[in-house]
Amino acid sequence: MSENDSVTREPILVCDQVSRWFGGLQATKSISLSIERGEIFGLVGPNGSGKTTLVNAITGFYPPQEGRIEFEGNPIQHLKPYRVAAHGIARTFQNVALFRGMSVLDNILLGRHILMRPSAIASLFYWWMAQKEEIAHRRKAEEIIDLLQLESVRNESVDVLPLGLQKRVELARALCAEPRFLILDEPMAGMNQEEKEYMVRFILDAQEALGLSILLIEHHMDVVTAICDRLMVLNNGQKIAAGKPQDAINEPAVVAAYIGKTDHAA
């Protein structure tokens, strides 16, 4: 992944001068970035630095007031979230956003919504109009279940699962949509070391199997430096560093943002 840097790849997502404010609070200030096809792009920064706002701007929840966002060359900054999904962008949420009343399997099947043709009429004539489609998509969902090793909890209700598994189910739901671009908002928050390692492997497996480009927000620096190809660091809504993970997190501005100023920045 990170070895062939000499090859310039086409960008899949481009943010150009994206700004978003809430009343007097400027959450992101003119942020520009370009994510290349096939890479894992890390987005880090202290709490409240605008990472999630940027992601919400990309996915249409809080459209940017200024700036452009292009996905595969198409402007998407004014699309509603469900339209953004149809373009091939999937995401997970910081606080797990699963459908609690449903089983793991139904949650994952919902990931395939944009690829299905749901209608009340098809449900009425299920045996003639819906069954074939349901089974075809079930087969695809089972591939993802297999990839993320969720077979044993398939029929459990999601609210009885531990957090680590819930995050994995959410990843499965996102992958099920066959996205080309995946946004992971703190997929390892609240996990122990073992769960984190599992999650990293699943992310790398999925990236390899599905040829994904990934935008990863994460606070665990060991994870970020290990798997990201490039990194951007935000603080107070502004870009303070970008580049190779090791270089970016050692920039004086980043060290200052995280642990405060020292007499001589190492």
Binding site: A90, A97, L109, H113, A122, Q131, E133, A177
Partner: protein, 356 residues
């Protein structure tokens, strides 16, 4: 026990997603259907016409409401108005000479369109505010029906249903019952199929977390409206069936506010979003008062209960109210949950715990 999971292995996805993957459930469903079909031959006419027939029709109406309130999570406190629109539309269409089959379809569509217009409020408001919006529908529809003579046939008028036939069978005597049965079976399969298909999953997704639903491509706008449309369509036809097969003459009071509350009670007592619950809830709300009244009157006639006539009339109401409280305290998730617990107990018997 015969009710076991042991030996039940699904080997393909179609069987795993069947309506009743467990054989015993399938047999119970078939047995109930057989009893329902044979009912006119094994029970007295009085019981079939006055207990089973209204129970079936109210079950289909409760199914429509549970689809909206339970599956899609949109509260509706004016559902009797939806049924009223269906009932009056079908009668007027039939009087115009429209074949009954098409009159039913038209009644469903008219109810669905008007129901979705009021349901559009759901796109902006939730919870109690949606209750207010749907209550407004109840009162507006009531007012229009009472005050527009072309619809109600004049104030305090009773509109008789014309004689009709369904698929060349004149709707009379026992065929009224079979018509209601047919409709209830269709609605039951419809709601069961919705719950296992992508459409139903999208409805539940919007109910549980609308922002998570939109990020996977489900438009909350579209599915909320669609839930109102589908549910009002079923509700409208159920109203029409109720008018033609049971009341045979309609007045505005039959679809008043108290009926809306009764429908909500059916859905809540039965268990939100549950198909079995709709049947149990409709049975509870509709039949229990009748049974209690008969029971108390019987006790009074036998001289066991020696109280004044007015108290005798009120005891069933008190007992009914107390029973609702008892059931909801014992199981807030409704009668369907009690059924579900019992079923699960037998599924894993003789073990105490396990997964279904």
């Amino acid at each position: 026990m015969f009710y076991r999971l042991t030996g039940v292995y699904q080997t393909d996805y179609a069987k795993d997603r069947a309506l009743w993957p467990i054989p015993t459930d399938r047999w119970i469903a078939l047995l109930l259907l057989a009893i329902a079909i044979a009912a006119p031959f094994i029970f007295q006419v009085h019981y079939v016409a006055n207990y089973m027939l209204p129970w079936l029709i109210w079950s289909s109406a409760a199914l429509a409401l549970t689809l909206l309130m339970g599956v899609a999570g949109q509260l509706h406190f004016g559902f009797a108005a939806v049924m009223a629109i269906g009932a009056y539309s079908s009668i007027h269409l039939a009087r115009f000479g429209v074949p009954f089959e098409l009159a039913l379809l038209g009644a469903g569509l008219i109810s669905a369109v008007i129901g979705s217009i009021f349901g559009a409020a759901a796109l902006r408001v939730k919870g109690l505010y949606l209750v207010m919006a749907t209550l407004a529908m109840q009162y507006l529809v009531d007012w229009v029906i009472v005050n527009v003579p072309a619809i109600s046939g004049g104030a305090q008028a009773t509109l008789r249903t014309p004689d009709v036939s369904f698929l060349f069978i004149p709707l009379e005597s026992v065929w009224l019952y079979y018509m209601a049965l047919l409709w209830t079976v269709v609605v039951t399969l419809f709601v069961l199929n919705i719950k296992r298909s992508s459409y139903g999953r999208a409805l539940v997704a919007v109910r549980d977390k609308d922002y998570a639903a939109s990020i996977i491509g489900v438009s909350p706008f579209r599915y909320k409206l669609s839930a109102f449309f589908t549910s009002s369509f079923i509700g409208g036809i159920s109203g029409a069936i109720l008018a033609f097969c049971y009341y045979q003459a309609v007045t505005p009071e039959q679809f008043g506010f108290h009926v809306s509350i009764q429908l909500v009670a059916m859905v809540l007592v039965g268990g939100l979003g549950s198909v079995v619950g709709a049947y149990l809830g409709a049975g509870f709300v509709l039949l229990l008062p009748m049974i209690l009244t008969n029971f108390v009157a019987g006790l009074g006639a036998m001289g066991i209960l020696n109280v004044s006539a007015s108290l005798l009339a009120h005891i069933p109401l008190m007992a009914y109210g107390a029973l609702i409280i008892v059931f909801l305290l014992a199981e807030p998730l409704g009668l369907a949950k009690i059924y579900d617990n019992t079923r699960k107990y037998f599924l894993v018997w003789p073990f105490r715990h396990g997964q279904s």
